[in-house]
C-alpha cells in the first residue's frame, strides 16, 4: 500500500510539473509577452504606443466595423443555427444525416474559400452570372464588398457553432422531461416553448457568444471582402500595417491586439457564464430523438431547409466551380470556353500548391497527434487540481484560442522575433514557429472535451480498478483512456480540421517557401489570379468534404460522439 501511494504521488508530481510547464510556455508566455509590449512603454505618456493607437481614428473605425460585422453575423448565425438544430434534432424530418453534413460543411471550409466562392457568385465579373446571362453591367459594384456582405458570410461560417452547441444540449435533454409535459396536456408547440427552449437557452446564448468570438477573430472573410472596399476590421488592420511597415510597428500592433483581445475575452466570459447556467445535471434517458411530428408542415419545412442550403452552400460552390473552369474572369462558361487549364496550372506548374498542401497537412496532422497524446495525461492531472486552480488553469489554456488568431500571431512574433538565447536559433519565418503557434492555439480544442469527459466519469470506476490492483498508469491506460477515447478522438479531429484550414495565424507568420493552404489561396486572389485561386479552393473543398465523408463512413466503427455531425 505504501509503495503504491509513493507510485501514485510520483505520477502526480511528474504530471503536475508537465502541466505547469505546458501552460506556462504555450498558453501564458505569448499573452504575457504581448501585454508587456502593449503596456510596457506607458511611461512615455502621450507617445506610448497604446495611447497613439487609441488616439488614431483608424483604430476606432476598425473597432466599429469589427463589432458591427460580428454582431450582425452572430444574429444571422443564431437564426440559421437554431433553425437547423431544432428542426433536425427534434422533428421527424427525413435525411437528417445529409442535412447535418451539408450544414456543417461551411464551418469546415476555410473562410477565404467561402469568401472567394461568394465573390464568384455576385458582381459583374461573376462567371456564373455571365454563363446564365444575368450578370450586372460592367462597372456596377460588387455587393459583397461591404460591411453587410462581411457580416452575411461571417454568419454563415459561424452558424454551425450555434448549431452544434444547441444540438448537443438538445441531445442531452432527457426524453422524460418532454413526455412529462405532453402527458400534462402540453401540445408540441407548448412543449417546445415551455420546456425545450428554456432548458436549452443557456446553450443558445453560449453558442451565440462563440459565434461572436469566432467572427471577431475571423481574418479570411474581412480580408477578401473588406480590404478591396477600404473596410478594415481590427484583424485586417493589424495585417495591413504589418504587411506595409514590418516588425517596426510591433508595439502599436501589440496595443491593437490587446484591444481586440479584451473584447474577445468579454465574449468568452459571457459564454462561460451561460454555459454554466445551462448545466442542470439532468438525469434520465437521453440521446434519443424526441420526434416532434411535423405533419402537414413537413413539406414546407423540408423545402425551407433545402432552400437555405442551396443558398448558403450549393450556389457559392457552383459559382466557385464555374470560375475554376473558365479561362479568365469575365468569360462565360460554355462548351467552347470550358477548360481545365487552371487545375493543370496549379497542380503541375505551380510548385507552391504541393508545397502548401504538404506544409498544411504536416502542421495539422502533427499538431493533432501531439495534442492528442498530451491531452489525456494533462486533463487527468488538471481534473485533480483544487477547483479554483483548475478553473484558472483551464482559463489559461483557453486564452490562446479565445483570443483572435491575429493576436496570437503578433504575440508569437514578439516572442520569437529575436533568435532564442543560448541555442541561438531563429524561429521567426520558419514552419516551426507556425507549428508552435498551432500547438498553443489548439491545445484547448483537444484538452477541453477530454477534461469534460473526465469530469463526467464516475470516480468509483477508477477506485474499483485501484482496489483490483491497477496502478496509476495502468488505470489511465485501461480504464480512463477507453472511456474518454471518443472525446479524445473528437478533439484531435477538430484540431486537424481547424489547423488545415487555418489562415489567420499563418497569414502573419508565413514566409516564402512556408506557405500554408490558406495563405496560398489568399495570395493568389490578392494577386488577381481569381481563376487559379478558385481551382485551389475547389481542391481544398474536395479535400475537406472527402475527409468529412471518410469520417462519416467510419462513424459506425468509432465510439459514439466522435464525429460531431453524427449521433
Amino acid at each position: 500500500m505504501a509503495a503504491f501511494e509513493i507510485g501514485a504521488g510520483g505520477q502526480q508530481r511528474w504530471l503536475l510539473t508537465a502541466l505547469t510547464l505546458v501552460i506556462v510556455t504555450l498558453s501564458l508566455a505569448p499573452s504575457a509577452r504581448l501585454l508587456f509590449e502593449a503596456l510596457g512603454d506607458l511611461s512615455l505618456g502621450s507617445d506610448a504606443p497604446l495611447v497613439r493607437v487609441l488616439q488614431s481614428g483608424a483604430t476606432w473605425r476598425a473597432l466599429g466595423y469589427s463589432i458591427y460585422t460580428s454582431g450582425l453575423g452572430t444574429l444571422i448565425a443564431l437564426v440559421l443555427g437554431s433553425l437547423f438544430a431544432f428542426v433536425i434534432t427534434l422533428t421527424d424530418i427525413r435525411a437528417k444525416a445529409a442535412l447535418v453534413f451539408c450544414f456543417m460543411l461551411p464551418m469546415m471550409i476555410p473562410p477565404q474559400v467561402t469568401a472567394l466562392a461568394w465573390l464568384q457568385l455576385f458582381g459583374p465579373a461573376s462567371p456564373l452570372l455571365k454563363s446564365l446571362g444575368i450578370a450586372p453591367a460592367l462597372g456596377s459594384p460588387q455587393p459583397l464588398y461591404s460591411a453587410e456582405g462581411i457580416a452575411l458570410l461571417l454568419g454563415i461560417q459561424a452558424a454551425p457553432l450555434v448549431f452544434l452547441a444547441l444540438r448537443t444540449s438538445l441531445l442531452a435533454l432527457p426524453r422524460e422531461l418532454i413526455e412529462a409535459a405532453r402527458i400534462s396536456g402540453a401540445r408540441q408547440s407548448q412543449v417546445w416553448g415551455h420546456i425545450v427552449l428554456p432548458v436549452t437557452r443557456g446553450a443558445l446564448v453560449a453558442g451565440a457568444a462563440m459565434a461572436f468570438i469566432s467572427s471577431l477573430g475571423n481574418f479570411g472573410i474581412p480580408a477578401m471582402l473588406g480590404i478591396p472596399a477600404g473596410i478594415y476590421v481590427l484583424p485586417t488592420l493589424i495585417y495591413q500595417r504589418m504587411a506595409s511597415f514590418g516588425t517596426g510597428v510591433l508595439p502599436e500592433m501589440a496595443s491593437l491586439s490587446l484591444l481586440i483581445g479584451v473584447i474577445a475575452l468579454l465574449g468568452v466570459a459571457l459564454q462561460q457564464r451561460y454555459q454554466r447556467r445551462s448545466r442542470f445535471g439532468l438525469t434520465g434517458h437521453s440521446g434519443r430523438a424526441h420526434d416532434f411530428l411535423l405533419g402537414r408542415l413537413k413539406l414546407p419545412v423540408t423545402a425551407l431547409m433545402v432552400a437555405v442550403l442551396l443558398v448558403i452552400l450549393v450556389a457559392p460552390l457552383a459559382a466557385l466551380m464555374i470560375s475554376s473552369l473558365v479561362p479568365a474572369m469575365g468569360v462565360p462558361l460554355n462548351a467552347a470556353t470550358a477548360t481545365l487549364a487552371a487545375y493543370e496550372e496549379v497542380l503541375s506548374r505551380q510548385g507552391a500548391t504541393w508545397r502548401a498542401v504538404s506544409n498544411s497537412l504536416w502542421l495539422a496532422g502533427g499538431a493533432a497527434l501531439l495534442l492528442m497524446a498530451a491531452s489525456l495525461p494533462l486533463a487527468y492531472r488538471l481534473y485533480r487540481l483544487p477547483p479554483r486552480l483548475q478553473s484558472l488553469a483551464l482559463g489559461a489554456v483557453e486564452l490562446p484560442y479565445a483570443l483572435p488568431g491575429v493576436v496570437l500571431a503578433i504575440a508569437c512574433i514578439l516572442l520569437f522575433v529575436r533568435p532564442l538565447p543560448i541555442i541561438d536559433v531563429a524561429l521567426y519565418g520558419t514552419l516551426t514557429l507556425i507549428f508552435i503557434a498551432y500547438l498553443a492555439r489548439f491545445l484547448v480544442v483537444c484538452l477541453k472535451p477530454v477534461a469534460a469527459s473526465l469530469a463526467q466519469l464516475d470516480p468509483s470506476l477508477e477506485e474499483a480498478a485501484q482496489l483490483a490492483g491497477a496502478g496509476p498508469w495502468r488505470r489511465m491506460a485501461t480504464i480512463v483512456l477507453p472511456l474518454v477515447a471518443p472525446a479524445l478522438f473528437a478533439g484531435g479531429l477538430l484540431v486537424f480540421l481547424l489547423a488545415v484550414n487555418e489562415l489567420t495565424v499563418s497569414a502573419l507568420l508565413w514566409s516564402a517557401g512556408n506557405e500554408t493552404l490558406g495563405v496560398l489561396i489568399f495570395n493568389l486572389d490578392e494577386g488577381g489570379e481569381s481563376v487559379l485561386a478558385s481551382a485551389v479552393s475547389i481542391l481544398v473543398v474536395m479535400l475537406v468534404a472527402a475527409l468529412m465523408l471518410a469520417l462519416s463512413l467510419l462513424a459506425p466503427r468509432l465510439p459514439k460522439g466522435v464525429v460531431p455531425w453524427q449521433r
Partner: protein
C-alpha cells in the same frame, strides 16, 4: 375514475414482439401493477397506455373512448393521464411550485384557484415549505413526491407509474409505498404501476398482471397470485416456496395433507405433476416421527429475526424450504409433514 380496457394489444419493434396479444380490463379506481422481469414488455405497455408509443395491433379504451388502435392514436396530451417517471422528470428551469402547477397552467387555471390547488397538492405530499426551491435542491424522495404532486394537481383519469421507487433506497421505498397508497385512497384514481419488484406490487396493487416475454401470464389479486400461481414460472417469481413432483393431482387443484403425502410415496418415475409447497405449509415435528412422516436433512438455516428459514433436503434429493421458531443443528435429520399443496402447470 375511469375503466381502462386493453384488448389484444401487440407492439412490434421490427420482427420482435415486445408486447404480444395482451388483454386486460382495469376497473374504475383500481390500483393495478404490471409485474415482470426486465424486458418483459411492461414498460412498453405503459408507454402505449400513455400514448408515447403507437400500438401495432389491438385497442386501448378509456371508458368508451378509443385511445389507440392500429389506425387511431390519441396524442398523450389529450388522454387526461398523468405519469410518475423513474427519473422523476422534473423540469430543471422551473421551481417546485411551477413544476407542480404546469398541468394547471395548460388547463388555463389562473390566479387564486391556481395558487390554492398548487398549495394543496404540495401539502398532500408534505412539501409546502419547498415551493420556491429548484428541483435540483431536493433529495430523491422529495423529488419523487414533487412528481406525485404534479400528478395529483389535475385529478387525472388515470395515473401511470413507471418504476417510481427504483432510484430510492430501501427505507424511503417503504415510506413512498405508503404515500402511494394514501394518494390512491384520496384520489380514487385508476392507477397502473410498473415494477419488477414483486413485494412492491403485492403491497400496493389491487390486482397484478404478471408478464413474461410480452405475454400476460396471470392476472389476479395479490392473494390469489400467492396462493394459486398458475405455472411453475409464476410460482418461482412470486413469494417463496418449494416445488415437488407427485403422482396424482392436476394443474389448478389444491391438495390436502392426505393426498399430498400419499402422492409423494409413489415411485419417482411416475411423479410428473409439479406441486408448490409454501414454507408455512411444512410442519416440522418435534416428537418422534411416525411411519407416514417424511424425513429430511437440514442443509443450512438463515436467521430472519422472527424465525429461522430452514433449507432442507428430502431423501429423494428434492430441496424443501420451511420455517422454524428455533435454531436446529445443521446436518441433523428432521421429521415433517406437508399440510397443503398447489398443483402447477408445467412450463
Amino acid at each position: 375514475m375511469a375503466a381502462l380496457s386493453i384488448e389484444g394489444v401487440s407492439k412490434f419493434f421490427g420482427e420482435h414482439a415486445a408486447v404480444d396479444d395482451l388483454s386486460l380490463t382495469v376497473e374504475p379506481g383500481e390500483f393495478v401493477a404490471l409485474l415482470g422481469p426486465s424486458g418483459c414488455g411492461k414498460t412498453t405497455m405503459l408507454r402505449m397506455l400513455a400514448g408515447f408509443e403507437p400500438v401495432s395491433r389491438g385497442e386501448i379504451r378509456l371508458n368508451d373512448t378509443l385511445l389507440a388502435s392500429a389506425s387511431h392514436h390519441v396524442e398523450p396530451e389529450q388522454r387526461h393521464m398523468a405519469m410518475v417517471f423513474q427519473s422523476y422528470a422534473l423540469w430543471p428551469h422551473m421551481s417546485v411550485a411551477d413544476n407542480v402547477g404546469y398541468p394547471l397552467k395548460l388547463k388555463k387555471v389562473r390566479g387564486a384557484a391556481y395558487r390554492e390547488r398548487v398549495h394543496r397538492a404540495l401539502a398532500l405530499v408534505e412539501l409546502e415549505g419547498y415551493a420556491s426551491r429548484t428541483p435540483q435542491a431536493l433529495s430523491g424522495g422529495q423529488r419523487q413526491r414533487v412528481a406525485l404532486a404534479r400528478c395529483l394537481v389535475v385529478e387525472p383519469a388515470v395515473v401511470l407509474l413507471d418504476e417510481p421507487l427504483a432510484n430510492l433506497d430501501r427505507h424511503l421505498r417503504a415510506a413512498m409505498e405508503q404515500s402511494f397508497q394514501a394518494f390512491h385512497r384520496r384520489t380514487q384514481a385508476t392507477m397502473v404501476y410498473v415494477t419488477h419488484d414483486q413485494s412492491e406490487a403485492m403491497a400496493l396493487a389491487d390486482r397484478i398482471a404478471v408478464m413474461r416475454e410480452g405475454r400476460l401470464v396471470q392476472w389476479a389479486t395479490p392473494e390469489t397470485l400467492y396462493r394459486e400461481p398458475k405455472s411453475q414460472w409464476v410460482a418461482g417469481f412470486i413469494g417463496q416456496g418449494s416445488e415437488l413432483y407427485i403422482a396424482n393431482g392436476a394443474p389448478g387443484q389444491r391438495l390436502t395433507e392426505a393426498t399430498l403425502m400419499q402422492g409423494l410415496t409413489a415411485p419417482l418415475a411416475s411423479r410428473t405433476q409439479p406441486v408448490l409447497v409454501r414454507p408455512e405449509h411444512v410442519r416440522i415435528k418435534a416428537d418422534a416421527p411416525t411411519a407416514r412422516d417424511l424425513s429430511a436433512r437440514l442443509e443450512h438455516q438463515t436467521f430472519r429475526g422472527e424465525r429461522f428459514e430452514l433449507h432442507l433436503q428430502l431423501q429423494d434429493g428434492t430441496a424443501l424450504m420451511a420455517y422454524h421458531p428455533r435454531a436446529l443443528t445443521p446436518g441433523q435429520s428432521v421429521a415433517l409433514t406437508l399440510t397443503e399443496g398447489w398443483c402447477l402447470e408445467r412450463d
